[in-house]
Protein backbone atom coordinates (compact mmCIF):
# COMPACT_ATOMS: atom_id res chain seq x y z
CA UNK A 1 0.00 0.00 0.00
CA UNK A 2 1.43 3.39 -0.98
CA UNK A 3 2.07 6.00 1.69
CA UNK A 4 -0.53 8.40 0.34
CA UNK A 5 -3.32 5.83 0.61
CA UNK A 6 -2.93 5.15 4.33
CA UNK A 7 -5.91 6.26 6.38
CA UNK A 8 -5.43 9.41 8.46
CA UNK A 9 -4.45 8.50 12.04
CA UNK A 10 -6.60 9.60 14.94
CA UNK A 11 -6.14 13.22 16.04
CA UNK A 12 -4.01 13.66 19.18
CA UNK A 13 -6.14 14.10 22.29
CA UNK A 14 -3.63 15.28 24.87
CA UNK A 15 -4.43 16.49 28.38
CA UNK A 16 -3.60 20.23 28.16
CA UNK A 17 -0.59 21.38 30.15
CA UNK A 18 -1.61 23.32 33.27
CA UNK A 19 -0.17 26.78 33.82
CA UNK A 20 -0.58 27.56 37.54
CA UNK A 21 1.81 30.52 37.42
CA UNK A 22 -0.33 32.22 34.84
CA UNK A 23 -3.17 32.24 37.34
CA UNK A 24 -0.93 33.52 40.11
CA UNK A 25 0.50 36.33 38.01
CA UNK A 26 -2.96 37.29 36.76
CA UNK A 27 -4.26 37.55 40.35
CA UNK A 28 -1.25 39.58 41.53
CA UNK A 29 -1.55 42.05 38.66
CA UNK A 30 -5.30 42.43 39.13
CA UNK A 31 -4.89 42.97 42.86
CA UNK A 32 -2.28 45.69 42.38
CA UNK A 33 -4.39 47.42 39.75
CA UNK A 34 -7.48 47.27 41.96
CA UNK A 35 -5.54 48.70 44.91
CA UNK A 36 -4.28 51.61 42.83
CA UNK A 37 -7.74 52.33 41.44
CA UNK A 38 -9.32 52.13 44.87
CA UNK A 39 -6.77 54.50 46.37
CA UNK A 40 -7.47 57.19 43.80
CA UNK A 41 -11.21 56.62 43.65
CA UNK A 42 -11.58 57.05 47.40
CA UNK A 43 -9.01 59.84 47.78
CA UNK A 44 -10.36 62.21 50.44
CA UNK A 45 -9.62 65.37 48.43
CA UNK A 46 -11.42 64.17 45.31
CA UNK A 47 -15.12 64.94 45.22
CA UNK A 48 -16.72 62.70 42.58
CA UNK A 49 -19.99 64.58 42.85
CA UNK A 50 -18.23 67.66 41.44
CA UNK A 51 -16.83 65.51 38.62
CA UNK A 52 -20.33 64.29 37.82
CA UNK A 53 -21.72 67.79 38.07
CA UNK A 54 -19.27 69.26 35.53
CA UNK A 55 -18.96 66.26 33.17
CA UNK A 56 -21.79 67.50 30.94
CA UNK A 57 -21.49 71.18 31.81
CA UNK A 58 -22.45 73.22 28.68
CA UNK A 59 -19.15 75.15 28.67
CA UNK A 60 -17.20 71.87 28.82
CA UNK A 61 -19.22 70.43 25.93
CA UNK A 62 -18.56 73.57 23.87
CA UNK A 63 -14.87 73.22 24.73
CA UNK A 64 -14.92 69.67 23.38
CA UNK A 65 -16.34 70.91 20.09
CA UNK A 66 -13.56 73.51 19.83
CA UNK A 67 -10.94 70.86 20.67
CA UNK A 68 -12.29 68.65 17.88
CA UNK A 69 -12.36 71.58 15.46
CA UNK A 70 -8.76 72.45 16.28
CA UNK A 71 -7.69 68.82 15.89
CA UNK A 72 -9.45 68.27 12.57
CA UNK A 73 -8.38 71.57 10.95
CA UNK A 74 -4.78 71.32 12.18
CA UNK A 75 -4.55 67.71 10.94
CA UNK A 76 -6.01 68.62 7.54
CA UNK A 77 -3.44 71.39 7.21
CA UNK A 78 -0.75 69.00 8.45
CA UNK A 79 -1.64 66.22 6.00
CA UNK A 80 -2.12 68.42 2.92
CA UNK A 81 0.98 70.49 3.56
CA UNK A 82 2.83 67.35 4.66
CA UNK A 83 2.17 65.55 1.36
CA UNK A 84 3.26 68.66 -0.51
CA UNK A 85 6.45 68.96 1.55
CA UNK A 86 7.22 65.25 1.12
CA UNK A 87 6.84 65.42 -2.65
CA UNK A 88 8.95 68.59 -2.68
CA UNK A 89 11.57 66.86 -0.56
CA UNK A 90 11.81 64.03 -3.12
CA UNK A 91 11.81 66.43 -6.07
CA UNK A 92 14.65 66.42 -8.55
CA UNK A 93 14.79 70.21 -8.27
CA UNK A 94 17.47 70.96 -5.63
CA UNK A 95 15.99 74.36 -4.69
CA UNK A 96 12.54 72.92 -4.06
CA UNK A 97 13.88 70.02 -2.02
CA UNK A 98 16.13 72.29 0.06
CA UNK A 99 13.26 74.62 0.89
CA UNK A 100 11.28 71.63 2.11
CA UNK A 101 14.25 70.42 4.15
CA UNK A 102 14.58 73.86 5.73
CA UNK A 103 10.89 74.03 6.63
CA UNK A 104 11.04 70.65 8.34
CA UNK A 105 14.27 71.58 10.12
CA UNK A 106 12.74 74.76 11.49
CA UNK A 107 9.30 73.58 12.54
CA UNK A 108 10.51 70.31 14.00
CA UNK A 109 13.37 72.02 15.75
CA UNK A 110 11.37 74.48 17.83
CA UNK A 111 8.81 73.58 20.53
CA UNK A 112 5.20 73.79 19.43
CA UNK A 113 4.43 75.81 22.56
CA UNK A 114 6.92 78.45 21.39
CA UNK A 115 5.37 78.44 17.93
CA UNK A 116 1.89 78.93 19.43
CA UNK A 117 3.16 81.88 21.48
CA UNK A 118 4.78 83.28 18.36
CA UNK A 119 1.60 83.23 16.27
CA UNK A 120 -0.39 84.58 19.21
CA UNK A 121 2.02 87.48 19.55
CA UNK A 122 2.48 88.08 15.83
CA UNK A 123 1.04 91.57 16.21
CA UNK A 124 4.08 92.58 18.26
CA UNK A 125 6.40 92.30 15.27
CA UNK A 126 3.93 92.85 12.44
CA UNK A 127 1.22 95.28 13.56
CA UNK A 128 -0.36 95.34 10.09
CA UNK A 129 -0.80 92.65 7.48
CA UNK A 130 -1.39 93.40 3.82
CA UNK A 131 -1.82 91.41 0.67
CA UNK A 132 -1.36 93.19 -2.64
CA UNK A 133 -0.10 93.06 -6.18
CA UNK A 134 3.27 94.79 -6.47
CA UNK A 135 3.48 98.01 -8.53
CA UNK A 136 -0.29 98.50 -8.43
CA UNK A 137 -2.59 100.09 -5.92
CA UNK A 138 -4.53 96.89 -5.36
CA UNK A 139 -3.96 96.03 -1.71
CA UNK A 140 -5.82 94.66 1.28
CA UNK A 141 -4.64 95.86 4.68
CA UNK A 142 -5.74 94.94 8.20
CA UNK A 143 -4.34 94.99 11.69
CA UNK A 144 -2.79 91.71 12.71
CA UNK A 145 -5.00 91.43 15.76
CA UNK A 146 -8.08 91.55 13.55
CA UNK A 147 -6.82 88.93 11.13
CA UNK A 148 -4.97 86.51 13.41
CA UNK A 149 -7.67 85.65 15.94
CA UNK A 150 -6.74 83.37 18.86
CA UNK A 151 -8.35 80.48 16.96
CA UNK A 152 -6.32 81.21 13.81
CA UNK A 153 -3.14 81.54 15.87
CA UNK A 154 -3.82 78.10 17.38
CA UNK A 155 -4.55 76.60 13.94
CA UNK A 156 -1.37 78.07 12.47
CA UNK A 157 0.77 76.94 15.37
CA UNK A 158 -0.58 73.41 15.48
CA UNK A 159 -1.06 72.90 11.72
CA UNK A 160 2.27 74.24 10.48
CA UNK A 161 4.12 72.26 13.13
CA UNK A 162 2.18 69.12 12.27
CA UNK A 163 3.01 69.50 8.57
CA UNK A 164 6.69 69.07 9.34
CA UNK A 165 6.05 65.77 11.11
CA UNK A 166 3.51 64.55 8.57
CA UNK A 167 5.88 65.23 5.67
CA UNK A 168 8.39 62.81 7.17
CA UNK A 169 5.66 60.23 7.65
CA UNK A 170 4.52 60.63 4.04
CA UNK A 171 8.08 60.57 2.73
CA UNK A 172 8.75 57.31 4.56
CA UNK A 173 5.60 55.90 2.97
CA UNK A 174 6.56 56.99 -0.53
CA UNK A 175 10.06 55.54 -0.41
CA UNK A 176 8.74 52.28 1.03
CA UNK A 177 6.98 51.57 -2.28
CA UNK A 178 9.07 49.34 -4.53
CA UNK A 179 10.78 51.20 -7.38
CA UNK A 180 9.48 48.52 -9.75
CA UNK A 181 5.95 49.90 -9.25
CA UNK A 182 6.98 53.27 -10.63
CA UNK A 183 8.77 51.64 -13.54
CA UNK A 184 5.84 49.43 -14.43
CA UNK A 185 3.53 52.43 -14.36
CA UNK A 186 5.90 54.51 -16.47
CA UNK A 187 6.28 51.67 -18.95
CA UNK A 188 2.49 51.78 -19.39
CA UNK A 189 2.80 55.44 -20.38
CA UNK A 190 1.64 57.02 -17.14
CA UNK A 191 2.91 60.53 -16.44
CA UNK A 192 4.73 61.33 -13.21
CA UNK A 193 1.81 62.91 -11.36
CA UNK A 194 -0.50 60.06 -12.26
CA UNK A 195 2.07 57.47 -11.14
CA UNK A 196 2.26 59.23 -7.79
CA UNK A 197 -1.49 59.58 -7.36
CA UNK A 198 -2.73 56.25 -8.69
CA UNK A 199 0.12 53.85 -7.96
CA UNK A 200 2.59 55.09 -5.34
CA UNK A 201 0.45 57.01 -2.82
CA UNK A 202 -2.28 54.34 -2.47
CA UNK A 203 0.43 51.79 -1.65
CA UNK A 204 2.25 54.23 0.60
CA UNK A 205 -1.00 54.64 2.57
CA UNK A 206 -0.40 51.33 4.30
CA UNK A 207 2.83 52.71 5.75
CA UNK A 208 1.50 56.25 6.22
CA UNK A 209 -1.73 55.44 8.05
CA UNK A 210 -0.61 53.97 11.39
CA UNK A 211 1.69 56.89 12.24
CA UNK A 212 -0.95 59.33 10.99
CA UNK A 213 -3.39 57.81 13.45
CA UNK A 214 -0.78 58.32 16.14
CA UNK A 215 -0.33 61.91 15.04
CA UNK A 216 -4.07 62.56 15.16
CA UNK A 217 -4.37 61.16 18.66
CA UNK A 218 -1.32 63.12 19.67
CA UNK A 219 -2.82 66.27 18.09
CA UNK A 220 -6.03 65.85 20.05
CA UNK A 221 -3.98 66.10 23.22
CA UNK A 222 -1.47 68.67 21.96
CA UNK A 223 -4.38 70.96 21.08
CA UNK A 224 -4.66 71.54 24.84
CA UNK A 225 -1.52 73.70 24.51
CA UNK A 226 -3.65 76.11 22.49
CA UNK A 227 -5.08 77.29 25.82
CA UNK A 228 -2.22 79.80 25.89
CA UNK A 229 -3.78 81.50 22.86
CA UNK A 230 -6.99 81.84 24.94
CA UNK A 231 -8.97 79.63 22.57
CA UNK A 232 -11.92 78.18 24.49
CA UNK A 233 -11.00 74.55 23.94
CA UNK A 234 -11.48 71.82 26.53
CA UNK A 235 -8.38 72.47 28.59
CA UNK A 236 -8.82 76.25 28.60
CA UNK A 237 -12.45 75.88 29.67
CA UNK A 238 -11.65 73.55 32.55
CA UNK A 239 -8.89 75.93 33.73
CA UNK A 240 -11.34 78.82 33.66
CA UNK A 241 -13.91 76.88 35.66
CA UNK A 242 -11.45 75.61 38.25
CA UNK A 243 -10.01 79.12 38.64
CA UNK A 244 -13.49 80.14 39.69
CA UNK A 245 -14.55 77.23 41.91
CA UNK A 246 -11.13 75.90 43.08
CA UNK A 247 -12.06 72.29 42.20
CA UNK A 248 -8.78 71.90 40.34
CA UNK A 249 -8.40 68.11 40.38
CA UNK A 250 -12.07 67.39 39.75
CA UNK A 251 -12.02 69.44 36.57
CA UNK A 252 -8.77 67.83 35.47
CA UNK A 253 -10.53 64.48 35.88
CA UNK A 254 -13.44 65.76 33.80
CA UNK A 255 -11.07 66.87 31.03
CA UNK A 256 -9.15 63.58 31.21
CA UNK A 257 -12.33 61.53 30.90
CA UNK A 258 -13.26 63.41 27.73
CA UNK A 259 -9.76 63.22 26.25
CA UNK A 260 -9.68 59.47 26.94
CA UNK A 261 -13.07 58.96 25.38
CA UNK A 262 -12.12 60.87 22.24
CA UNK A 263 -8.75 59.12 21.79
CA UNK A 264 -10.48 55.76 22.29
CA UNK A 265 -12.90 56.53 19.48
CA UNK A 266 -10.01 57.60 17.24
CA UNK A 267 -8.10 54.40 18.01
CA UNK A 268 -11.13 52.38 17.01
CA UNK A 269 -11.60 54.31 13.76
CA UNK A 270 -7.95 53.97 12.86
CA UNK A 271 -8.28 50.21 13.09
CA UNK A 272 -10.95 50.01 10.44
CA UNK A 273 -9.19 52.48 8.16
CA UNK A 274 -6.06 50.33 8.28
CA UNK A 275 -8.05 47.24 7.45
CA UNK A 276 -9.40 48.99 4.37
CA UNK A 277 -5.97 49.96 3.05
CA UNK A 278 -4.54 46.51 3.80
CA UNK A 279 -6.73 45.01 1.06
CA UNK A 280 -4.69 43.09 -1.46
CA UNK A 281 -1.58 43.14 0.69
CA UNK A 282 -2.29 40.93 3.67
CA UNK A 283 -3.54 37.46 2.90
CA UNK A 284 -5.74 37.43 5.98
CA UNK A 285 -7.08 40.58 7.53
CA UNK A 286 -6.22 41.06 11.20
CA UNK A 287 -9.03 40.62 13.70
CA UNK A 288 -11.28 43.53 14.54
CA UNK A 289 -11.14 44.69 18.17
CA UNK A 290 -14.52 43.05 18.78
CA UNK A 291 -13.34 39.70 17.38
CA UNK A 292 -10.17 40.02 19.46
CA UNK A 293 -12.19 40.66 22.61
CA UNK A 294 -14.47 37.69 21.98
CA UNK A 295 -11.45 35.50 21.39
CA UNK A 296 -9.88 36.65 24.64
CA UNK A 297 -12.99 35.68 26.56
CA UNK A 298 -13.76 32.32 25.02
CA UNK A 299 -10.72 30.93 23.20
CA UNK A 300 -7.77 32.22 25.16
CA UNK A 301 -5.92 28.91 24.93
CA UNK A 302 -5.61 29.02 21.12
CA UNK A 303 -2.47 30.46 19.57
CA UNK A 304 -2.96 33.88 18.01
CA UNK A 305 -4.58 33.29 14.60
CA UNK A 306 -3.02 36.08 12.52
CA UNK A 307 0.14 38.04 13.01
CA UNK A 308 0.53 41.71 12.17
CA UNK A 309 0.78 42.74 8.53
CA UNK A 310 3.85 41.70 6.65
CA UNK A 311 6.09 44.74 6.31
CA UNK A 312 6.16 46.01 2.73
CA UNK A 313 9.22 45.09 0.69
CA UNK A 314 11.76 47.89 0.38
CA UNK A 315 13.59 47.80 -2.93
CA UNK A 316 13.78 44.01 -2.93
CA UNK A 317 15.53 43.67 -6.25
CA UNK A 318 17.44 46.74 -7.06
CA UNK A 319 20.38 44.70 -8.30
CA UNK A 320 18.50 43.84 -11.47
CA UNK A 321 18.03 47.54 -12.15
CA UNK A 322 21.71 48.42 -12.04
CA UNK A 323 22.69 46.46 -15.13
Amino acid sequence: MAAGERSRPEAIKAIPLRHPWRWVSAIVVLALAAAALYTFATAPGLDWRVVGQYLFFPQILRGIVVTLELTVIAMVIGVVLGVLLAVMRLSANPVVSTVSWFYIWFFRGTPVLVQLFFWYNLALILPHLSVGIPFTHIEWVGTTNQIVSPFLAAILGLGLNEAAYMSEVVRAGIISVDQGQTEAAQALGMARVRVMRRIVLPQAMRVILPPTGNETISMLKTSSLAYITTVAELFYVQTEISNANFSVVELLVVASIWYLLMTSILTFGQYYLERYFARGSARLLPLTPLQRFRRMLFHFHDPPPVGPFEPPPIYPHHEDRII
Binding site: A187, L188, G189, M190, R194, G280, P316, D320, I323
Partner: protein, 254 residues
Protein backbone atom coordinates in the same frame (compact mmCIF):
# COMPACT_ATOMS: atom_id res chain seq x y z
CA UNK B 1 12.45 47.28 -46.99
CA UNK B 2 9.96 48.08 -44.24
CA UNK B 3 10.99 50.42 -41.41
CA UNK B 4 12.57 48.31 -38.69
CA UNK B 5 10.54 48.26 -35.44
CA UNK B 6 13.72 48.75 -33.43
CA UNK B 7 16.91 50.15 -34.85
CA UNK B 8 20.01 50.61 -32.69
CA UNK B 9 23.19 52.20 -34.00
CA UNK B 10 26.26 52.39 -31.79
CA UNK B 11 24.17 52.73 -28.60
CA UNK B 12 26.25 53.66 -25.56
CA UNK B 13 25.16 53.89 -21.93
CA UNK B 14 27.18 54.74 -18.81
CA UNK B 15 26.35 54.63 -15.12
CA UNK B 16 28.83 57.13 -13.78
CA UNK B 17 32.16 55.82 -15.01
CA UNK B 18 30.90 52.32 -15.66
CA UNK B 19 30.20 51.78 -19.36
CA UNK B 20 27.34 49.33 -19.51
CA UNK B 21 26.61 49.48 -23.23
CA UNK B 22 29.57 50.00 -25.53
CA UNK B 23 28.16 50.26 -28.99
CA UNK B 24 25.12 48.13 -29.70
CA UNK B 25 24.01 47.79 -33.32
CA UNK B 26 20.96 45.76 -34.16
CA UNK B 27 17.64 45.91 -35.90
CA UNK B 28 14.33 44.17 -35.28
CA UNK B 29 11.88 43.88 -38.17
CA UNK B 30 8.12 44.02 -37.61
CA UNK B 31 6.74 40.62 -36.52
CA UNK B 32 10.24 39.48 -35.62
CA UNK B 33 11.09 37.81 -32.30
CA UNK B 34 14.56 38.74 -31.12
CA UNK B 35 16.05 36.94 -28.15
CA UNK B 36 18.91 38.49 -26.21
CA UNK B 37 21.02 36.14 -24.12
CA UNK B 38 24.19 36.58 -22.14
CA UNK B 39 25.66 36.49 -18.65
CA UNK B 40 24.32 38.83 -15.97
CA UNK B 41 25.99 42.21 -16.10
CA UNK B 42 26.32 42.03 -19.87
CA UNK B 43 23.96 44.98 -20.33
CA UNK B 44 21.05 43.13 -21.93
CA UNK B 45 18.41 44.39 -19.47
CA UNK B 46 19.80 47.91 -19.70
CA UNK B 47 19.50 47.83 -23.47
CA UNK B 48 15.90 46.65 -23.20
CA UNK B 49 15.12 49.50 -20.79
CA UNK B 50 16.65 52.00 -23.21
CA UNK B 51 14.11 50.97 -25.87
CA UNK B 52 11.21 52.52 -23.92
CA UNK B 53 13.35 55.27 -22.43
CA UNK B 54 13.34 54.00 -18.85
CA UNK B 55 17.07 54.64 -19.29
CA UNK B 56 18.59 57.46 -21.34
CA UNK B 57 21.27 56.52 -23.84
CA UNK B 58 24.46 58.57 -23.82
CA UNK B 59 25.60 58.17 -27.41
CA UNK B 60 24.44 56.58 -30.66
CA UNK B 61 20.97 56.40 -32.15
CA UNK B 62 18.03 54.32 -31.01
CA UNK B 63 14.70 54.45 -32.77
CA UNK B 64 11.40 52.61 -32.55
CA UNK B 65 9.22 52.41 -35.64
CA UNK B 66 11.31 55.06 -37.36
CA UNK B 67 11.17 57.63 -34.51
CA UNK B 68 14.03 58.41 -32.13
CA UNK B 69 13.50 57.22 -28.55
CA UNK B 70 13.26 60.13 -26.10
CA UNK B 71 14.54 62.75 -28.56
CA UNK B 72 13.51 64.64 -31.64
CA UNK B 73 15.90 65.56 -34.38
CA UNK B 74 15.43 68.79 -36.30
CA UNK B 75 18.21 69.62 -38.71
CA UNK B 76 21.39 68.55 -36.99
CA UNK B 77 20.13 69.47 -33.51
CA UNK B 78 18.70 66.96 -31.06
CA UNK B 79 15.94 68.04 -28.67
CA UNK B 80 14.84 66.21 -25.57
CA UNK B 81 11.19 65.20 -25.79
CA UNK B 82 8.75 66.58 -23.22
CA UNK B 83 7.34 64.09 -20.67
CA UNK B 84 4.00 63.96 -22.44
CA UNK B 85 5.60 62.73 -25.67
CA UNK B 86 7.77 60.20 -23.87
CA UNK B 87 4.65 58.83 -22.16
CA UNK B 88 2.75 58.62 -25.43
CA UNK B 89 5.55 56.61 -27.01
CA UNK B 90 5.88 54.33 -24.01
CA UNK B 91 2.16 53.63 -24.19
CA UNK B 92 2.76 51.99 -27.58
CA UNK B 93 5.40 49.64 -26.18
CA UNK B 94 4.49 46.86 -23.75
CA UNK B 95 6.97 45.77 -21.12
CA UNK B 96 7.05 42.70 -18.91
CA UNK B 97 9.38 42.63 -15.91
CA UNK B 98 11.28 39.90 -14.15
CA UNK B 99 9.53 40.77 -10.87
CA UNK B 100 6.05 41.14 -12.51
CA UNK B 101 5.47 44.53 -10.81
CA UNK B 102 1.71 44.14 -10.71
CA UNK B 103 -0.03 46.86 -8.72
CA UNK B 104 -0.84 45.06 -5.44
CA UNK B 105 -3.72 47.35 -4.48
CA UNK B 106 -5.67 46.50 -7.62
CA UNK B 107 -7.33 43.27 -8.74
CA UNK B 108 -6.13 41.49 -11.87
CA UNK B 109 -8.77 43.22 -14.00
CA UNK B 110 -8.10 46.64 -12.43
CA UNK B 111 -4.39 46.20 -13.14
CA UNK B 112 -5.22 45.59 -16.78
CA UNK B 113 -7.78 48.39 -17.12
CA UNK B 114 -5.81 51.16 -15.39
CA UNK B 115 -3.64 52.32 -18.29
CA UNK B 116 -6.06 51.95 -21.23
CA UNK B 117 -8.74 53.89 -19.33
CA UNK B 118 -6.58 56.53 -17.66
CA UNK B 119 -3.75 56.99 -20.15
CA UNK B 120 -5.47 56.39 -23.48
CA UNK B 121 -8.89 57.50 -22.27
CA UNK B 122 -10.68 54.51 -23.77
CA UNK B 123 -14.23 53.83 -22.58
CA UNK B 124 -14.48 51.70 -19.44
CA UNK B 125 -16.82 49.16 -21.05
CA UNK B 126 -14.64 48.46 -24.08
CA UNK B 127 -11.55 48.06 -21.92
CA UNK B 128 -13.29 45.77 -19.45
CA UNK B 129 -14.42 43.54 -22.30
CA UNK B 130 -10.88 43.45 -23.66
CA UNK B 131 -9.42 42.86 -20.20
CA UNK B 132 -11.66 39.86 -19.60
CA UNK B 133 -10.84 38.32 -22.95
CA UNK B 134 -7.11 38.91 -22.41
CA UNK B 135 -7.30 37.20 -19.04
CA UNK B 136 -9.09 34.31 -20.73
CA UNK B 137 -6.39 34.22 -23.37
CA UNK B 138 -3.63 33.82 -20.75
CA UNK B 139 -5.71 31.14 -19.03
CA UNK B 140 -6.87 33.16 -16.04
CA UNK B 141 -10.54 33.82 -16.83
CA UNK B 142 -11.45 32.83 -13.26
CA UNK B 143 -8.97 35.25 -11.62
CA UNK B 144 -10.57 38.50 -12.77
CA UNK B 145 -11.28 39.87 -9.28
CA UNK B 146 -8.29 38.38 -7.47
CA UNK B 147 -5.54 40.54 -5.97
CA UNK B 148 -1.97 39.80 -7.16
CA UNK B 149 -0.83 38.52 -3.75
CA UNK B 150 -3.29 35.66 -4.03
CA UNK B 151 -1.83 34.53 -7.37
CA UNK B 152 1.17 32.30 -7.99
CA UNK B 153 4.24 33.79 -9.66
CA UNK B 154 3.32 32.26 -13.00
CA UNK B 155 -0.21 33.59 -12.79
CA UNK B 156 1.06 37.05 -11.83
CA UNK B 157 3.38 37.11 -14.81
CA UNK B 158 0.55 36.13 -17.15
CA UNK B 159 -1.58 38.96 -15.72
CA UNK B 160 1.39 41.28 -16.30
CA UNK B 161 1.53 40.16 -19.94
CA UNK B 162 -2.21 40.75 -20.30
CA UNK B 163 -1.78 44.19 -18.73
CA UNK B 164 0.85 45.12 -21.31
CA UNK B 165 -1.26 43.72 -24.17
CA UNK B 166 -4.31 45.72 -23.08
CA UNK B 167 -2.57 48.85 -24.40
CA UNK B 168 -2.48 47.17 -27.84
CA UNK B 169 1.26 47.76 -28.22
CA UNK B 170 3.14 47.47 -31.47
CA UNK B 171 6.19 46.09 -29.69
CA UNK B 172 6.61 43.93 -26.59
CA UNK B 173 9.69 43.92 -24.37
CA UNK B 174 10.31 41.00 -22.00
CA UNK B 175 12.94 41.38 -19.29
CA UNK B 176 13.76 37.85 -18.11
CA UNK B 177 10.06 37.08 -17.70
CA UNK B 178 10.58 33.58 -16.30
CA UNK B 179 13.69 34.08 -14.14
CA UNK B 180 11.76 34.66 -10.91
CA UNK B 181 9.44 31.69 -11.41
CA UNK B 182 9.40 28.17 -10.02
CA UNK B 183 10.50 25.77 -12.80
CA UNK B 184 7.03 24.22 -12.81
CA UNK B 185 5.38 27.56 -13.67
CA UNK B 186 7.74 28.62 -16.45
CA UNK B 187 5.92 26.58 -19.10
CA UNK B 188 2.60 28.45 -18.79
CA UNK B 189 4.28 31.81 -19.28
CA UNK B 190 6.34 30.60 -22.24
CA UNK B 191 3.17 29.18 -23.81
CA UNK B 192 1.54 32.59 -23.68
CA UNK B 193 4.61 34.20 -25.23
CA UNK B 194 4.74 31.53 -27.94
CA UNK B 195 1.11 32.29 -28.78
CA UNK B 196 1.91 35.99 -29.03
CA UNK B 197 4.80 35.31 -31.40
CA UNK B 198 2.54 33.16 -33.60
CA UNK B 199 0.02 36.01 -33.76
CA UNK B 200 2.76 38.17 -35.26
CA UNK B 201 3.70 40.39 -32.28
CA UNK B 202 7.12 42.02 -32.55
CA UNK B 203 9.04 40.96 -29.46
CA UNK B 204 12.41 41.60 -27.85
CA UNK B 205 13.03 38.98 -25.19
CA UNK B 206 15.89 38.97 -22.70
CA UNK B 207 15.93 35.38 -21.51
CA UNK B 208 17.87 32.44 -20.19
CA UNK B 209 15.40 29.99 -21.77
CA UNK B 210 17.50 28.62 -24.62
CA UNK B 211 14.74 26.18 -25.60
CA UNK B 212 12.35 29.08 -26.11
CA UNK B 213 14.96 31.06 -28.07
CA UNK B 214 15.63 28.11 -30.34
CA UNK B 215 11.99 27.31 -30.95
CA UNK B 216 10.31 30.73 -31.08
CA UNK B 217 13.11 33.21 -31.80
CA UNK B 218 13.67 34.49 -35.32
CA UNK B 219 17.05 35.85 -34.34
CA UNK B 220 19.34 35.78 -31.36
CA UNK B 221 22.10 38.03 -30.06
CA UNK B 222 24.62 37.04 -27.48
CA UNK B 223 25.84 39.97 -25.38
CA UNK B 224 28.80 40.22 -23.08
CA UNK B 225 30.55 43.21 -21.54
CA UNK B 226 28.20 45.71 -23.16
CA UNK B 227 28.72 44.57 -26.75
CA UNK B 228 27.11 42.05 -29.07
CA UNK B 229 29.54 39.18 -29.35
CA UNK B 230 27.60 37.09 -31.79
CA UNK B 231 24.25 37.16 -33.54
CA UNK B 232 22.28 35.18 -36.07
CA UNK B 233 19.68 32.47 -36.43
CA UNK B 234 19.06 31.01 -32.93
CA UNK B 235 19.28 27.40 -34.07
CA UNK B 236 22.64 28.00 -35.74
CA UNK B 237 24.15 30.14 -32.99
CA UNK B 238 23.06 27.75 -30.26
CA UNK B 239 24.17 24.63 -32.14
CA UNK B 240 27.36 26.02 -33.57
CA UNK B 241 28.66 29.11 -31.76
CA UNK B 242 31.56 30.83 -33.50
CA UNK B 243 33.11 32.74 -30.59
CA UNK B 244 34.98 31.29 -27.68
CA UNK B 245 32.98 33.44 -25.21
CA UNK B 246 29.63 32.27 -26.60
CA UNK B 247 30.78 28.66 -26.47
CA UNK B 248 31.89 29.02 -22.85
CA UNK B 249 28.57 30.62 -21.84
CA UNK B 250 26.40 28.11 -23.69
CA UNK B 251 28.31 25.13 -22.31
CA UNK B 252 27.30 26.29 -18.84
CA UNK B 253 23.62 27.02 -19.48
CA UNK B 254 22.65 24.31 -21.98
Amino acid sequence: MATPMVLAEAVHKCYGRLEVLRGIDLSVAPREVLCIVGPSGSGKSTFLRCINHLEKIDAGRLSVDGELVGYRQRGDKIYELPDREVCRKRSEIGMVFQRFNLFPHMTALENIMEAPVRVKGEPQKVVEERGRSLLARVGLADKVDVYPNHLSGGQQQRVAIARALAMQPKLMLFDEPTSALDPELVGDVLDVMRGLAQDGMTMVVVTHEMGFAREVGDSLVFMDGGVIVESGNPREVLANPQHERTRAFLSKVL
